[in-house]
């Protein structure tokens, strides 16, 4: 297979920038396209060629559909983007049902990206050392007025101890490996590059649809040519769709619910049972150790362990890691049809993977990240959560499929009323009954019913992150007539 063009792919797609603990996401509106294009032409974008050092500053950029149109990208080329991107995250009631953006999470109430919010054209992503990020932002912000840019929202992030998310669990462990880029890891985890970067062969052996331009539309010859020698110029190559969701986490409600459900008959708190039930819901212990490998107690030595299957690791029935748990349903590995436990099952699963690049935001409820301290802290008014970010090339088959067919589906893998115990939408609005969490066990299952919704959506949009040459190309576009 052809090697990836690392110098043309924006770095955040291929690398998580783990060495840079500071990050800031700036949502911008373009008021003066001409000025913005001049600024774009000079913007120093980080490519995926090398891993950043702790002293580096990395900049990446992505565009909404409206943003590309505003910069003068032609409408016939825009029509070649994926339907989900063209339509946007909030445009139809159907997409709200698919994503679970209903009730308290409906776009009308979003801070940004919703129908009542201001137009978002660009997403500027800044990464630096923790103590450098403010300065980095100020340096960039100083150029916004001259670049015809207006800040809609500046989303700050926080690096939580142990790389945890706010509920207290290590996050971002399982990631697909990209064919032709990553060293091969556990079997079944290496996925065709075209699933994450356009212009390469995808998991169906095809090139995903993307804007292809005629040579006349690229007179300076900035864009790469298509890999299939069609004579077209490939605007999509080395680009990827970026899904952004601001997910607010109700940490107090989460732990109070667990505390309440695990009290002893005498009404005393049972911290061990509380932690175990929470870990059953996640599918990993707070350290990150997978339940499939250590079902009875946490084991920090397995913190980053991702080398397991479900059927293939002796947990076909979910006795170790429940069938409905968050990690099992958002990445079922070998657990689903056809023929669970088989190579074929894993191959089909590869058509529904995403690369996650999210970062936490808001102060932790308790700096120790210990459930007991979080319970004692009560509920501050401060919002906290996750700026969920993922990359994929087919939003409908990857991100939206995971969201609807796995995460929010109460019928997942033969369950009845169990949506994702951690992030599920609880059958928001008029969908099926949900909010049950079943713990498969011998001699018979136990279950918790009436789970409230712990995670709400506060903003979001579908972006396109072009290759670096494609960004340069945008900078040269003539003004729209």
């Amino acid at each position: 297979m052809p090697a990836l063009e690392l110098t043309d792919i924006q770095g955040i797609i291929l690398r998580g920038y783990g060495s840079l603990r500071g990050a800031c996401f700036v949502l911008l509106a373009v008021d003066d396209p001409g000025a913005t294009k001049r600024w774009l032409g000079e913007l120093d974008l980080r490519s995926g060629q090398t891993r950043p050092s702790a002293a580096d500053t990395c900049v990446n950029i992505a565009f909404t559909y409206g943003g590309l149109a505003r910069l003068g990208f032609s409408s016939d080329s825009l029509a070649m983007f994926a339907g989900e991107f063209r339509e946007g995250m909030t445009a139809t009631k159907h997409r709200q049902r698919i994503l679970g953006d209903l009730g308290e999470s409906q776009p009308e109430g979003w801070r940004w990206g919703g129908p009542r919010g201001e137009r978002v054209d660009l997403l500027l992503m800044l990464y630096a050392a923790d103590e450098q990020i403010e300065q980095t932002y100020q340096r960039h912000a100083g150029r916004f007025p001259g670049a015809g840019l207006r800040v809609i929202e500046r989303l700050t992030t926080i690096f939580l101890p142990g790389r945890k998310e706010h509920f207290g669990f290590r996050d971002g462990i399982a990631q697909p490996l990209i064919e032709g880029f990553d060293e091969p890891g556990r079997p079944g985890n290496t996925v065709a590059a075209g699933e994450f970067v356009l212009g390469y062969v995808n998991a169906y052996g095809q090139y995903t649809q993307r804007p292809l331009l005629s040579p006349a539309q690229d007179p300076q010859g900035i864009l790469p040519s298509t890999p299939t020698a069609s004579g077209s110029r490939d605007f999509g190559r080395n680009g990827s769709y970026l899904v952004f969701r601001q997910l607010s986490q109700d940490v107090g409600t989460f732990w109070r619910f667990l505390d309440d459900k695990t009290r002893t008959a005498a009404g005393a708190a049972d911290p061990a049972a509380r932690l175990k039930l929470a870990s059953k819901m996640v599918g990993r212990w707070p350290s990150g150790a997978p339940l499939v490998k250590t079902p009875d107690a946490d084991n920090p030595q397995l913190a980053d362990d991702d080398d397991f299957l479900y059927h293939g690791s002796g947990d076909a029935h979910g006795f170790k890691c429940p069938v409905g748990s968050h990690v099992r349903r958002s990445n079922p590995r070998d657990a689903l049809e056809p023929d669970p436990g088989s190579e074929r099952s894993i191959e089909v699963g590869k058509r529904h993977r995403i690369i996650r690049r999210g970062r936490a935001y808001g102060p932790p409820l308790a700096t120790s990240m210990e459930p007991t301290d979080m319970l004692a802290a009560g509920d501050a008014t401060q919002e906290r959560g996750l700026h969920f970010i993922c990359f994929n090339t087919h939003i409908g088959r990857q991100f939206e499929f995971i969201q609807h067919t796995w995460v929010n589906n109460p019928k997942f893998d033969g369950l009845y009323t169990d949506d994702d115990p951690l992030i599920g939408d609880r059958g928001a609005d008029d969908k099926d009954e949900a909010g049950t969490f079943t713990v498969q066990a011998t001699p018979v299952r136990t279950r918790v019913v009436g789970l409230p919704r712990f995670v709400h959506v506060r903003g979001g949009a579908y972006f396109f992150m072009p290759g670096i040459r494609a960004v340069r190309f945008l900078a040269t576009l003539p003004a729209p007539v």
Binding site: V348, R397, E433
Partner: protein, 452 residues
């Protein structure tokens, strides 16, 4: 318990009536809970129902094909009882809906008898009718769902830690015995009638025997057929057109209100006798396969379909496919590609405009993008749709049935463990039939890579 049947009633819409009819029918999203005109929820033994308008169109030769209305139902046998229920309980609504059609009795002549005659006279048999699992009546499905719900509630009230599986099972049995409204559950569900089972068994054997007898002729003509097939396949012209975003949105607007969805797609056969002959043979094989081979709830891993049918239209010039399934259309299309591409290619590649197939079984819908672009160009809106059990997936129904079937049956220790697991998650489906297992082992993806 009765077996299940499909009913398709089709009639031509009177000139000028298509607008008023569509207005009366509205859209699925507008009345997704109940539609007052025909009270489907009051009709006994009805699993699914829908009303579909096929707009006027032109066939491949350019001849006008008039607009038609179709009523589709999935029911428990006998059909006569269903027709009677439609003509009585649904009589007024039937008048209002089919009153827009060509052959419906005139206002003065609308009686139970004339309506029933009309329905029978305009019924078109399905060429293939797929049932997830034959023999589960509406009553059985809803009763067994209530049984499982009751047992779940009971399990929630007790702490069984430290108890043996046998003790838990006995406690469940004891609980069911004490529930007066669960008395029916103390005996297993009856199979379909002996007459129906005999008919099916005969069909299975006689058709297989016929195949053996005809096999020399088939084998001799196979090379010629293959040659002709390849000639057709290389000359076929896939339809490159794309449905507009607005058109696609009209379908999406009706989808994903719950766990179940519906789809209907219609297309013309490719011209010429060769495709007609191939399609007839493949549909015959498919009919045999879904009745006798893939009859345990799974089509090579695709197990989300409750009911599906292929029905010819307009003197066999075209055919529609409709199904009631679990999950989103996106997941349904992926299931088609990932699990059952070979079978669906064999049928649908005889349809005009289909993505190019190779050797009948390969290519076709495995061209993911071409297939997902093609489908909305052939899709038709179901304007009214009814499901008797919206909150049950095919797996839920199968699991509930297994719980009830084994509730008081003698079980060994392994069987007891497996039975108790069904309260934790219902993902253990019965093993496919032997022939299905063999067919499932064909490595289509690898084989097709060499062929296409």
């Amino acid at each position: 318990m009765p077996h299940q049947e499909s009913l398709t009633v089709i009639d031509q819409i009177k000139p000028g009536q298509i607008g008023p009819l569509k207005e009366l029918l509205g859209t699925l999203a507008e009345h997704r809970d109940t539609w007052e005109v025909i009270p489907f929820g009051k009709l006994p033994a009805l699993h699914f129902a829908r009303l579909v308008v096929f707009d006027e169109t032109k066939d491949l030769a350019g001849t006008v094909v008039p607009a038609r209305l179709a009523l589709l139902t999935n029911i428990d046998a006998p059909l006569d009882a269903h027709l009677h229920a439609l003509a009585t309980l649904g009589g007024d609504g039937l008048d209002r809906v089919f009153g827009h059609c060509h052959d419906f009795p005139a206002p003065g002549a609308r009686t139970v008898g004339s309506r029933t005659d009309y329905l029978r006279g305009h019924a078109v048999p399905s060429r293939v009718f797929y049932v997830n699992r034959q023999g589960r009546s509406v009553q059985q499905i809803t009763q067994e769902a209530a049984l499982r719900r009751a047992i779940d509630g009971f399990l929630d009230t007790r702490d069984f830690s430290g108890k043996s599986p046998l003790e838990v099972r006995k406690a469940i049995q004891e609980f069911v015995r004490t529930q007066p409204d669960l008395g029916w559950a103390t005996s297993p569900a009856e199979p379909p009638s002996r007459r129906w089972r005999t008919r099916e068994a005969l069909h299975k054997v006689l058709m297989a025997a016929a195949a053996v007898i005809l096999s020399p002729i088939v084998l001799v003509s196979l090379p010629i057929w293959l040659l002709l097939l390849r000639r057709h396949e290389t000359r076929d012209v896939p339809d490159p057109s794309q449905a507009s975003a607005d058109h696609v949105r009209t379908f999406r607007a009706d989808e994903d209100f719950g766990g179940q969805n519906q789809i209907l797609a219609v297309g013309f056969f490719k011209p010429g006798w060769f495709r007609k002959l191939t399609a007839t043979a493949i549909l015959g094989l498919t009919d045999y396969a879904v009745r006798h081979i893939y009859n345990r709830g799974s089509l090579s891993g695709l197990n989300t379909i409750h009911f599906a049918r292929w029905v010819p239209l307009d003197d066999d010039k075209r055919m529609f496919f409709s199904s009631n399934y679990d999950g989103s259309l996106e997941s349904y299309m992926n299931d088609f590609i990932d699990k059952a591409a070979w079978g669906l290619n064999a049928i649908f590649s005889n349809g005009d405009g289909f993505p190019r197939a190779a050797y009948l079984f390969c290519g076709g819908i495995t061209d993911e993008q071409a297939y997902k672009r093609f489908l909305p160009t052939r899709q038709v809106q179901s304007r009214v749709w009814y499901s008797a059990y919206k909150n049950l997936s095919t797996k839920n129904i199968a699991n509930n049935a297994e719980i009830r079937q084994a509730l008081f049956a003698p079980l060994d220790q392994d069987q007891t463990d497996a039975w108790l697991r069904r309260f934790g998650v219902g993902n253990e489906l019965p093993a496919p039939a032997l022939v299905a297992r063999l067919l499932n082992r064909i490595p289509w993806e690898r084989t097709c890579r060499h062929w296409s």
